[in-house]
Symmetry: C2
Subunit: 217 residues, 2 copies
């Protein structure tokens, strides 16, 4: 059995591991699974061969024994459900709660973070940008406050470390340069705990190596 | 075994079934499961008893035998995995693909739709609103084009009707009054097929009844 994932041939974040291959690499490392990586240029992502695997022309994808998957949340869930690796609790109720947190990460928490990110990337030179930022920040911090309240002094979202923490830590890492995490030391400590795991370290190094091996322009 | 979900005590959409209890009701109806509904006011959603079940103070939640879940995508997946009802394929690879489409619905497809919706709801009186709308529309139509291309002339996203279609149809229904679906007759036909299912009809009627039974103000 060979697992092949896709990742960006160019590194839009200069190797900071914010692209969504990072949570998939992390899950594979936690589960102790070897994998190959196929790098795709931005142009290739929008071409029929890639669109046949990923209808929305994004990375990552996941191929294994004739199965082709897309959506990082679904791929991490597949790895956890099929390959174990301690990524989901055995208890059925705890497992269902972990899956709820997986959806919360990629939907409820991620949405305002990506909206804010998009505004900074594409509208920062617009005259209305400064006026909109407090609203966009507020949508993010509203979620961070709720997440921080729910996390309390727990190490992970719901009991033991799980696939949900992989997704949530990756979503929160997108806020790295925003300054918005400064008011939430428990969330920063949560991210730090995730990043300290050996499996994260290996995943981070692997995605960064792609960027460092690029020809210098 | 009693299943209890939560829904809005007030109907923000005047009974059009756009709140996220609708996909959960629909899944329960497809699976032939009876359920109770606890209605929550907007104020109650932000109070500790509800936050203990839903960290982000939203609806729906799902309670069953001591299990409490949140996130409509996760709840629909739980119903499909635990109770069957034909909501997920038996074949493991087809099941994994259906789950990928579930994540695609609530993350990749929903995000630009909710971003556009939020701008219309909260920023329509701002002087910059008209300037931003083509960009917001474009983010939605980019996804609709890709989704339409992927759907092709298939009836459902991937083979037989599944939980993924419940989530995707509900996400697309949010575009009802936007006019953006007019250019995508195959997606409108897809929504129509979903809405024609008896289980959707029962779910829609049940959520609408809450609104119709409200005291007139």
């Amino acid at each position: 059995m060979t697992i092949t994932i896709t990742a960006f041939a160019q590194s839009p974040d200069r190797g900071r591991g914010l692209a969504r291959d990072t949570p998939v690499r992390w899950a594979l490392e936690e589960a102790g699974l070897a994998y190959d990586v196929r790098l795709e240029t931005f142009a290739q992502l929008k071409q029929p061969p890639h669109l046949a695997v990923h209808p929305f022309g994004q990375i990552p994808t996941y191929e294994e024994d004739g199965l082709a998957l897309f959506e990082s949340g679904a791929i991490v869930l597949h790895i956890a459900q099929k390959h174990g690796g301690g990524l989901l609790p055995d208890d059925p109720q705890a497992r269902a709660r972990a899956i709820a947190w997986m959806f919360a990460a990629v939907a409820t928490v991620q949405a305002p973070i990506v909206e804010r990110e998009g505004a900074v990337l594409t509208e920062r030179d617009q005259p209305y940008h400064a006026q909109r930022m407090p609203m966009l920040d507020g949508r993010v911090t509203s979620r961070l406050t709720q997440l921080s309240d729910s996390l309390g002094d727990k190490a992970w979202l719901d009991g033991a470390f799980s696939a949900a923490d992989i997704l949530m830590v990756n979503v929160l890492r997108r806020l790295g340069t925003s300054g918005l995490l400064n008011a939430y030391p428990s969330l920063q400590a949560y991210i730090d705990r995730g990043e300290a795991r050996p499996a994260f370290q290996r995943a981070y190094a692997a995605q960064k190596a792609v960027f460092e091996n690029l020809p210098k322009g």
